[in-house]
Amino acid sequence: MRYVKHYGTWGYILHRLTGLALIGYILIHIYLVSGLHNKPGWQSEMQIFRNPILMVLEWCLFSIVVFHALNGIRIFIIDYFNGARYHKQLLTAVLVFSIILFAGMGAIMFF
């Protein structure tokens, strides 16, 4: 399927892409957390998360969650509070807040 790439459509496209990434992540996440039954296995597995590369990936995951969550609020406003009149400004707000939170989380995680 082709998507018309106007500014507001990017909210739609990004919501879908981040959503697809998140459901993939959630399935893996629930599967891995079931490893809590095996204490030694869990503890050695979790050492992987000391690796800076994985920390950067977790940071990216956070940004995906934040964008999807904030854009979800945007969808809610569009559906219930006449937000279709100003959905482009809302998308700008979502992107600005996402970037601020992404930078803030980076500061917390790495400094």
Binding site: G19, I26, S34, L36, R50, V65, A69, G72, I75, D79
Partner: protein, 121 residues
């Protein structure tokens, strides 16, 4: 879009509405989840810290709801993306079946994990 939808005018309305309801609940739950489980490195990765936290029955209830809603919301979202593409009816049913099977499998796994973990009082 050129495909025939087998359903009445209102079928799908519940899915649309419930996607928004679950989305709002998940918004709050994901904030709580991040705050409590990724506050420090230990809170998210250390076995004893996690088990101690999950020994609280309210915490377990929270996660049972979280798993159920996140899987519903995520897989319903996945299905609505896939539905936008033209498919043969057989393919449509097959993909839907795969989504249901994966969802039930991972959902049951998540529930078993939450309900059978050791309790440390």
């Amino acid at each position: 879009m050129a495909y025939k939808f087998e359903g009445s005018d209102t079928s799908g309305t519940f899915g649309w509405y419930f996607q928004r309801v679950t989305g709002l609940v998940l918004f709050i739950q994901v904030l709580v989840h991040f705050y409590i489980s990724h506050n420090t490195w230990d809170s998210g990765h250390d076995w004893a810290t996690i088990i101690a936290r999950l020994s609280n029955p309210y915490m377990r209830t929270f996660y049972l709801v979280f798993v159920a809603l996140a899987l519903y919301h995520g897989l319903n979202g996945l299905w609505s993306v896939i539905r936008d593409y033209h498919m043969k009816p057989g393919m449509r049913k097959a993909i839907f079946a795969v989504i249901m099977v994966v969802g039930i499998f991972i959902g049951v796994l998540g529930f078993i994990t939450m309900l059978t973990l050791p309790n440390i009082q």
